[in-house]
Symmetry: C2
Subunit: 684 residues, 2 copies
């Protein structure tokens, strides 16, 4: 494969892709034709000459991964998937951007066969691919043996200027260079056009020099519109260098073939009908036919599928003989590829009684990780330069590092992400997309917000990523309001398909991990304290795993306090003070709203029952607690810097003050009269 041979069918294949892109976007009357038309040549060379995948089994583990980081160009990806024979018909192409189609406006993993990661939000795909590369390197180091090069795929990425401007891509690029990920090959579609027009208005950096500074191999092809041999040779060079990611800068013409080629007029709007006709004529295609695919084109792309099927078959045989020679590793590899948890793993989860010492939930998290990582070797992750604060590195862990650094190796499971939260989140999505690993990532809870763009894509794309988010309230104390989350819990509780956990003690922390690990299609954020928390009398993994339960019961109560995390023990103190004053107060712990919401109505109504007012207490914004309570106590502004006990006092989150607040509420509802109905009782 080291020398390029022009095939008579190359031109027609490229023309087919370009014309189809114009047709797909034209019929939808919505979308981006320019980049697909400009990137047709590189797509054709990559897929016809290099790409190893089996369209009939898009989940074959050792397939090459393809990421379209400039996801707005997805007409291109859909066309390629269709031509190669993935589950995407010509009718699907005609339904581009229509409701309930397989061809939505941006590519969605899990929705369309052959899409590895969801892209469109710029920069994400770029960083996802670094995660794909990390997982590949790790699985290869862990499972490959002499003569059994089972895991050796490449990850190929298309990226535009937009992605390269995004900080998340910069973060991921710097880390990829540090990690020497030679399995990554990126094509930068340098077409000089972005939505605002010529990139000269905002993007004049020297991209090649920038990627060299990150430690990448950088190549370029000056005529990406025609120089197929140049593209071919660049890919060969990229594959040769094993200890560096490669960026191939391709100078292309956006919307190549259109009358408006090279302008931003072809970026995000369909071509006019006459323009489409003219370009078909120019390319030697029938001008009057839409969605036309010449037989030769289907044949060439069908051969890619045949090649891929043969490769998978060969691989299956290799895996089988690996199973003969290395039965233990085989069992483990196939279990991990299948995404199954080992039987009985949950028995390793620590449990506690109320007499156990108070500990910070970040410390409890460390204890969980120490207990479970030996039985769940697929747990792979790290922290954004807060290892000693997040407590995410267990003593037994080895750093995931290139051997040459002397700091670890690719078998290592602990990743030093650097201060790169957004990159970390997006990389974790890619790691999960690769399969075989379950990623966890860590930072202070306040800085999960830096990664919001990646977190919402974890949730949308069903990537099981576990966030260890420590220092989760004013309870972090001295670092002050710049570091104290207020709005953060509301943000993530409002996100669909995301479990936000704020455990109150040891058993609840174990429960959070238990549920997070078993929810294979849902990311979780574990919001953990810096300060020590006593173990509750009533907690257990089983009870907490319901998302909410009664931690202190009273019959014919005057008040229920619902709380979570570090405030549950304060609520219990308030309840005890109130009891001494004759006010019967139940306390409910609600560590995870989304899981609680999924319980049967009867259970939920037994926990947050009618009959007495319910007061919520949390050392964060009260926003959202109205769903579960009649009255809310929390922070109504920013936090403060100081020793944490004093900060709690300042904001009135203490047993005595909450008891006073509770009495006021009880008096108010008594005076108001009438039955107090649970806020969970709803018409819709």
């Amino acid at each position: 494969m080291s020398k390029f041979t022009q095939q008579p069918t190359d031109d027609i294949c490229i023309a087919t892709i370009r014309a189809l892109a114009a047709d797909v976007v034209g019929k939808a009357n919505s979308g981006h034709p320019g980049a697909p038309m400009g990137m047709a040549p590189v797509s054709h060379v990559l897929f016809s000459r290099f790409f190893n995948a089996n369209p009939k089994n898009s989940k074959w583990y050792n397939r090459d991964r393809f990421v379209l980081s400039n996801g707005h160009a997805c007409a291109l990806q859909y066309i390629l998937l269709h031509l190669m024979g993935y589950k995407l018909s010509m009718d699907d192409l005609k339904q581009f951007r229509q409701l309930n189609s397989l061809t939505p406006g941006h590519p969605e993993a899990g929705h369309t066969d052959g899409i590895e990661v969801t892209t469109g939000p710029l920069g994400q795909g770029f960083a996802n691919a670094v995660g794909l590369g990390i997982a590949q390197a790790h699985m290869a180091a862990t499972f490959n043996k002499d003569g059994f090069d089972l895991v050796n795929n490449y990850t190929y990425v298309f990226t535009g200027d937009g992605c390269l401007m995004e900080g998340v891509a910069s973060e991921a690029a710097s880390l990829a260079g540090h990690l020497q990920l030679g399995n990554l090959i990126y094509f930068y579609d340098d077409n000089h056009i972005s939505i605002d027009g010529d990139t000269a208005v905002a993007f004049t950096e020297n991209v090649e020099q920038r990627f060299l500074s990150y430690g990448w191999q950088v190549l370029h092809v000056d005529d990406g519109d025609h120089d197929l041999e140049g593209i071919y040779n660049a890919i060969v060079e990229a594959q040769k260098v094993k200890n560096k990611p490669t960026l191939i800068r391709l100078r292309t013409t956006i919307g190549y073939g259109s009358k408006q080629q090279g302008t931003h007029g072809v970026h995000g709007a369909p071509l006019k009908a006459d323009d489409i006709q003219a370009l078909k004529t120019k390319f030697g295609l029938p001008a009057d036919q839409s969605f036309y695919v010449p037989t030769e084109t289907y044949k060439v792309y069908g051969e890619i599928a045949i090649r891929g099927a043969a490769l998978e078959k060969k691989w299956d045989a290799l895996l089988a003989s690996y199973g003969q020679k290395y039965p233990k590793e085989y069992a483990e590899l196939t279990r991990r590829i299948a995404g199954k948890l080992p039987d009985g793993w949950e028995k390793s989860l620590p449990t506690y009684t109320a007499s156990d010492a108070a500990q910070a939930s970040r410390k409890l998290s460390e204890i969980v990780l120490t207990a479970i990582t030996p039985v769940l070797p697929e747990l792979m992750g790290g922290s954004a330069d807060l290892t000693g604060s997040n407590l995410t590195r267990t003593k037994a862990m080895v750093d995931f590092q290139p051997e040459s650094t002397g700091l670890g190796n690719y078998k290592g499971t602990y990743i030093r992400f650097g201060v790169r939260e957004h990159g970390m989140g997006a990389i974790a999505n890619g790691m999960h997309a690769y399969g075989g690993v379950t990623p966890f990532v860590a930072t202070f809870m306040n800085f999960v917000s830096y990664a919001a763009g990646a977190v919402r894509l974890s949730a949308l794309s069903k990537h099981q990523v576990i966030w260890v988010a420590t220092h989760d309230s004013i309870g972090l104390g001295e670092d002050g309001p710049t570091h104290q989350p207020i709005e953060t819990a509301a943000h993530f509780r409002a996100t669909p398909n995301l479990d936000f956990w704020r455990p109150a003690d040891g058993n609840e922390t174990s429960a959070a991990y238990y549920v997070a690990l078993t929810r294979r299609e849902t990311p979780s954020i574990l919001s953990l304290s810096r300060q020590n928390l006593p173990n509750l009398e009533a907690s257990s993994i089983e009870r907490a795993a319901k998302g909410g339960y009664v931690v202190h019961e009273e019959q014919s109560e005057d008040l229920t306090i619902v709380s979570c995390g570090s405030e549950v023990s304060i609520a219990l103190e308030a309840a005890s003070l109130l009891k001494a004053q004759g006010v019967k107060t139940r306390v409910v712990s609600l560590p995870c709203w989304s899981i609680f919401d999924s319980q049967p109505a009867e259970y939920r109504l037994s926990v947050l029952r009618s009959g007495a007012p319910i007061l919520s207490v949390e050392a964060l914004s009260t926003f959202g607690w109205q769903k579960y309570s009649h009255e809310q106590f929390g922070l109504f502004g920013w936090g403060a810097s100081g020793p944490y006990q004093k900060v709690y006092e300042k904001f009135g989150i203490t047993g005595p003050n909450l008891a006073a607040v509770g009495k006021k509420i009880v008096a108010f509802y008594k005076q108001k009269g009438g039955e107090v109905i649970s806020p969970l009782v709803k018409a819709i």
Copy 2:
């Protein structure tokens, strides 16, 4: 000032700062001594030889700006402010990180005299400084005249590895190079240590090469611990180059003087008492005295203050004579420095009647900008490469660009931010901190989340930044769920001191701008539609400026629907359908929750009154609406790609379906019996 002369007091001053840093952190028993100790030499050279500021008037407009991007090193900044005579006493230093002190754990603008921008969240200060530089360049171009170099300050920035790893800094750095901001001088404290230990674990990129790729001047000083002349000369070189920002890489030893110097042991924990004593002895300071400042040190720093006061006096005279020669420009400059809006500006705001054509609120926003930018020339901003979609560039605007690009000039007010949302948000904070400009920024609402780290600091630091956040729901249609915000409104509504507006029509859009522009200490997000919205009968700027009001009144109603933005007209349609079926339905528009919350209780209770159930409707997550309604209708998962009317239908947000939902609710509450009390009636 072009040649360095060693002063006999230099060493003692540097030793004072280093010892004070150890004492300040030691007494607090919390904080970061290492960077302050390592950066004492550069601080001393910069402030004693170059820095122009008047500690007695920290708001003097033409002062040099200092940004400590590695804000965790704030013991250093507090010490410098104290020594120079800002309003920060030795007692304040002793109260470091204590509750209600002027010396919180990270520096907060508006809280402590002399702090320009809030730092600590890494990367923010780096990007804020680019905003300071943009505003300086713009104000200089706009107001300076021959012989009147009124605005010519520098912005000096300290940054560590942490900031340089953050994507937000990469984004800002690339833009600063493009914009050729010669007024920016950054010092990179290259101490090879971050929280995870040696930077070799995660940060091995070539920083000098990277900044060269961005178009910066890059210098270095190999011995930042001792080479004062080298530091001095680097600053001189930096000042000489007028068309490039400068990065000076200083190789320093973290915690210089400590027994643990050069290790991560001195990064984030106090030094031991014996270590502090030993370093004082080493530096020739009395080992047994804490918080000791030699007379010479106070004298040297007192002279900086004297120099600064004289500079301000001279500047005042220059300004006065400018006022003689250019009275109009003088009036405008002083108005803008004072942050006053011109009288009667609000008369330019467009108003509408119900017969005016339906328009997208993003278009209504463009009409507002077109109307008000001529009377509010301080409005300066742009879009993250979505100008044609956000509609933020009025026809009269000129691009803010270096003249050499041929694309604009520094007088221009329109900024091409590139696809750099987080950088854009942080830059806008810096622009506001500079004064004289009112920044606005734009992207799709979903991608404001990329900038969450900067948005929360706008709110915390009271930066009046206006976000034009278009494409604000499933109403964007074909781009699909990757671009359709769901959780975004909840996130920003939960943020303190942030006004999140979702206007329903033309008058409400004008109201949103009116309030956003008059709220001088609060950032605003204007959430705007892609799709057309009819003008409401009942809307007016005055009514909408209350944050919530009745758009359709009924007496003895059966139901109230509360909504906002593009769903208000759908709610009105539902009300009309319900009326035809005998169900009397009021409709309330609630474009801004925080503003509505600030109205008198009586008003709020008249809008969302007791007596009938209240149903909220919004094409976003229902999260948070429980505060204003008994029942909630909205999105319970992700959106979908397709023409927007079909997407609305899919999720049941149509007049007929809402009417059906409304009837169900009315029946439920009738059956339930008892009085229906407004959710605004609360005990606390």
